[in-house]
Symmetry: C2
Subunit: 235 residues, 2 copies
DNA sequence: CGTGTCTTTGACGATTGTCAATGTACGTGG
DNA sequence: CCACGTACATTGACAATCGTCAAAGACACG
């Protein structure tokens, strides 16, 4: 948040209080399970996590990947039971806090409350972009979009990432995120590679032609163009 | 909102102030256009609207249908330009208000701010349900889910709706919402009718076997089970 | 009555899924 | 160090779902 807005001293310490309960999560561990109680929120401090749902034929849809700074678990907090499972894709560290802490934040820091709303809306737009991708673009475009999006989100948390990064996903997970089968994901990755748009070796992906990849993917970067001048005053 | 929480007098009047600028929208009219400025918010008072995006091959993805009580335009308020188009599916009435009004609401009424966050999360979960439907369910299931969802949302605003309702969508629009072509939507509607799950005549849909329809659709009603005891105190 | 939009239907084709087999890397225990 | 097992990637053949194209029917509206 601090990257976007000048926070006041009391705001900084209010946010710091939210992050005083760090918790380690191992790769593969489940932080919150679908249909079970889970009323706490988490902020990702390190690592990558994902949310997914399981359908009753056993198939899985990955809803979202979570990176450093993301606030997760809000749907579980709103509903009595979590509508989705949250699991760690890598070893990760999260900071846990509860409903009461969020409630106090809303009372004492209207600007931070509004910023949380803004982050929610950024996530909403990312979800609708993905909705449009699943509904209206080809398998190749969806895989290309995922390659670009993961690069951008990793770069946001680590500026040393430029064109090459460690994806950290199996092809089955890519398929579960893009609505494809693992086999077809493999075909699409090969095609992207043959077209010279990406390169792969040992779990690392290199973007070779960003322009063409973005074109193939219908990609729009949604972290541009936020307007935050209207927020309430700091407290 | 009032259906879920006992609002205080000042809260009621704060909400009423948001709704003091009613505006009529004709069927087919566009309230906010993709990529154009549109920083105001709206609450739907009457009628049905939709949000959609256009892809550069000309195809359309309908993101969401908006009914009475929905707050719309938030993505456009956050970004300088709206990421989606909002258009009226029927004659409708909306109440317009601006960023400053929302900002004041956050300052003066933390509980209402938290409620807005809750409504945002309900919408988020609805979007992820649709994401899972597009990614992992068959054409038939998606159409079935739309039939059920539209019924439920109409019933929420008009308790006289039980099993029969006026859909108010062309088959092309159903396709743009479910990620299908109009032709295939037609085939799926016919199948649902032949299976005895729905009936159709003259733009009106009747749900004949709700249980089976819900099973065919993987449907979960997400307006159950909200827990709001943690909200800040009223002001 | 004519025009345009929407629905319906059939034939055909393309994209994507399914199944099955093989290859490869990596970790674990002997 | 080697053997083995497991998870993941790759490939090919085939099938199913869904899209495309085209034409005709239904319906509302001026």
């Amino acid at each position: 948040m601090a990257a976007r807005v000048d926070l006041s001293g009391t705001e900084v310490s209010a946010l710091a209080r939210l992050e005083d309960r760090p918790r380690e999560v191992r790769r593969g561990a489940v932080l919150q399970r679908e249909n079970e109680r889970g009323n706490d929120l988490y902020v990702v401090r390190r690592g990558v996590l994902m949310s997914y749902v399981l359908l009753d034929d056993g198939s899985r849809q990955i809803l979202r990947f979570h990176f450093r700074g993301d606030m997760i678990g809000m749907p579980g907090m709103i509903y009595g039971r979590s509508p989705e499972t949250i699991a760690a894709l890598s070893d990760a560290e999260v900071c846990q806090f509860d409903r009461a802490a969020l409630s106090r934040l809303f009372e004492d820091h209207p600007r931070l409350a509004a910023l949380i709303l803004v982050l929610n809306q950024v996530e909403r737009v990312a979800l609708t972009d993905r909705l449009a991708a699943l509904g209206r673009t080809s398998a190749k475009a969806r895989v290309a979009a995922l390659m670009l999006d993961m690069r951008n989100r990793m770069r946001a948390g680590d500026p040393s990432v430029v064109d090459t990064y460690t994806l950290g996903l199996t092809q089955e997970e890519i398929g579960d995120a893009t609505g494809l089968t693992a086999v077809h994901v493999n075909r699409m990755l090969r095609q992207l590679e043959e077209d010279g748009l990406i390169a792969r070796e040992g779990g690392r992906v290199t973007i070779r032609d960003e322009r063409a990849l973005a074109r193939a993917a219908n990609y729009v970067d949604r972290f541009e163009g936020l307007e935050l001048g209207w927020l309430p005053a700091a407290r």
